[in-house]
Amino acid sequence: MTNTTPARKKHRFWTMERKQSAAGWAFLAPASILIFIFSFWPMFQALLISFKTGKPTALKYAEPLWRNYQYMLKDKVFQQSIGNTFTYLIIQVPIMLVLAIIFASLLNNRDLKFRGLFRTCIFLPCATGLVAYSMIFRTMFELDGMINGILLNLNLINERINWLNNPNTAKAVIILGLIWRWTGYNMVFFLSGMQGIEYSIYEAARIDGANQFQQLIKITIPLLKPIILVTGIMSTNGTLQLFDESMNLTKGGPANTTITMSHYIYNKMFVGAPNFGYAAAMSFVILIMVAILSAIETKVGDKR
């Protein structure tokens, strides 16, 4: 813009625009520099490490450079972990978001009593630590745990089910845990979005004869689209980086059928022989996956 504006006083360096833009830069600089040093520079370093191999204290560039990435194509456990993670993503995220919208629209009803109490109850799981709730879920689903006890007493099952020792039920327990932990979190976003929707729209719809379900489908969801998009991206991102549940609830077992990508990366770094280069390479593959999925979601969801 500077070159198009007529230079009124050529000898003065600090024009109005320059002053303003300098102030802008000065305000931006501290945060930008910190983000650069603590976030972007390490990411760049990690990219370099992902091309290296050898002992952690004496990393050398691999031959060929993409060797670590090549190995991933042969790594059956990593491929299995990708499969597991996407299973969680495809099943858990839609169920969770639908539940969150339903809860939010129920709580958005002005005639509901004890709204604050219900809201707190549904949000409360988000205040628990990831490790803590994973351990509690594991204890609950033990062979002699609470869930088996209740089901036996209600005569719903004849003998104890070993939930965490069967690939399908173990995955189901993790998905159940994720839904319990994160539904309230997403609900809060929807709730605040709904409070921004003009109440008179609903009144008008009711006069036109729309029932509760029609109001949800025709008014609430279309108007909440940007928020659904944001929660969708955040949930996708979070699920692809899932670690605590796999690590603490099932330890990746039985036989790696519940292991997530991040958990496998951790194993490669700290459990077996340390392999920094390979772990960094796998992290970058996750980054690319998150970027692609978020791009698709933005494209699909944002039709303005």
Partner: protein, 417 residues
């Protein structure tokens, strides 16, 4: 006011940095993990050492073994070895991996420490390229221990379970299960402690002597897996999902007994109401396998000294691990069985254990002498993870040979980097 606050904050920061430095300061810092076991042992060592050298300050910090490994990794890769303590405990199974990948952290103690009297099999865990990097702490000698009151209900005594093979064990186990409804043994699913114990009892391990992985052509391994599956299917061995649940089965009497490293006795003896109801014997052996014994090893740990810190002082302190009085003191409170031959002279080793009402420690020391050696190497946990997957898949109905082949391929893949 604001200036004062920021000044104080800066001071705090400085002090933390200064506090974290474990440089040559005449102070010994120790990282170890179990308050009833190895921390307690170090506290006793500290008290005894105070009589010899009262000027030395010794600080014992509780850090879990996985956390110690993670911290070593971060310290070594970021060139901040001075943030590590002077002495830290290391699992025997990880020791070679840690020394091979972070040689600059672990002090070479060959020629600096007197290893006379420590068994070669134990020292091998912390030896890399003929150079010793560890000071042995406890033995992981396997014991079989059963509840005699439950055995009695089914009409058996501890003598019926002594010096037997696994065929006979399964026979008894089926009978006991039919009469009492309880499994003989329990274990953590997927952790394959039992499988490795059985393999080592006949001198087999996951690796060949040249360090290459050995699953597919490992006859002992195949036989062990078949026995393990049979026991699980018959309900003689019950798998639980976590370590806590396993300890729970010992504490609440939902199994007859257990076969594990002798450090498990601490858990067994933590339940006062079963005192006098447990008996200890050797484990069953694999029938028809050459070199099969009734003895094995599981777990155990050794102390590592960190390079560049107060190493001479630390070495002087570690002379405690060649001290009869020390071993005599730690035994009754921690049940930690030392591997140093001189420990046998300690009067407490020969004495009756109150809980068992028998001289169990003398028995365990006797077993230790017969344990076949084991190969670990840098890829122990990679191989163990792969074998664990194979065992679980085999239990869920997979074909034994193809699962073992998959485990061997996976381990070779990890070793191929």
């Amino acid at each position: 006011m604001k200036k004062l606050v920021s000044l104080l904050l800066a001071l705090c920061l400085l002090l933390t940095v200064a506090g974290a430095m474990a440089a040559e300061d005449g102070k010994i810092t120790i990282w170890t993990w179990d308050p009833n076991f190895n921390i307690k042992s170090m506290q006793i060592a500290k008290e005894l050492y105070a009589k010899i050298n009262p000027d030395v300050e010794i600080v014992i910090e509780e850090v879990l073994s996985e956390d110690i490994e993670t911290r070593v990794t971060t310290a070594a890769t970021s060139n901040t070895i001075d943030t590590l303590p002077d002495i830290m405990l290391c699992q025997d199974n990880s020791f070679q991996k840690m020394v091979m990948f972070y040689p600059e952290v672990y002090a070479n103690l060959t020629g600096k420490y007197d290893y006379e009297g420590f068994p070669a099999g134990k020292l091998a865990y912390s030896t890399v390229d003929g150079q010793n990097h560890g000071i042995p702490f406890d033995a992981g000698t396997v014991v079989a221990t059963y509840r005699t009151d439950i055995l009695e209900q089914a009409g058996y005594t501890i003598a019926d379970l002594t010096d037997i093979d696994w065929d006979r064990f399964i026979e008894i186990g089926k009978d006991v299960k039919a009469k009492t409804g309880l499994p003989m043994l329990t274990g953590q699913a997927g952790s394959i402690d039992m499988v490795l114990i059985m393999m080592q009892s006949c001198g087999a391990s996951m690796f060949n002597e040249d360090g290459s992985v050995n699953f597919v052509n490992n006859e002992a391994c195949k036989m062990v897996l078949e026995y393990y599956k049979t026991m699980c299917e018959l309900g003689v061995f019950a798998e639980v999902n976590s370590w806590d649940a396993y300890c729970g089965t010992l504490a609440n009497g939902s199994c007859v007994g257990t076969i594990n490293g002798c450090w498990i006795l601490g858990t067994v003896m933590a339940v006062p109401e079963y005192a006098g109801k447990w008996a200890l014997t050797n484990m069953p052996k694999l029938p028809g396998v050459e070199g099969a014994t009734h003895y094995s090893n599981n777990g155990g740990s050794s102390w590592a000294l960190v390079n560049g810190t107060d190493i001479d002082l630390a070495l002087d302190f570690m002379k405690m691990y060649r001290n009869v009085e020390f071993y005599n003191e730690i035994l009754p409170t921690t049940s930690a069985i030392g591997t140093w031959a001189g420990a046998k002279e300690a009067p407490n080793y020969a004495a009756d254990n109150e809980y068992y009402g028998a001289p169990i420690f003398a028995t365990i020391v006797e077993y230790t002498a017969h344990v076949p050696a084991n190969q670990t190497g840098a890829y122990y946990y990679d191989a163990r993870g792969a074998l664990g997957t194979a065992v679980t898949n085999y239990m869920l109905g997979g074909d034994l040979m193809s699962e073992l082949q998959a485990a061997e391929d996976e381990t070779n893949f990890n070793m191929g980097f």
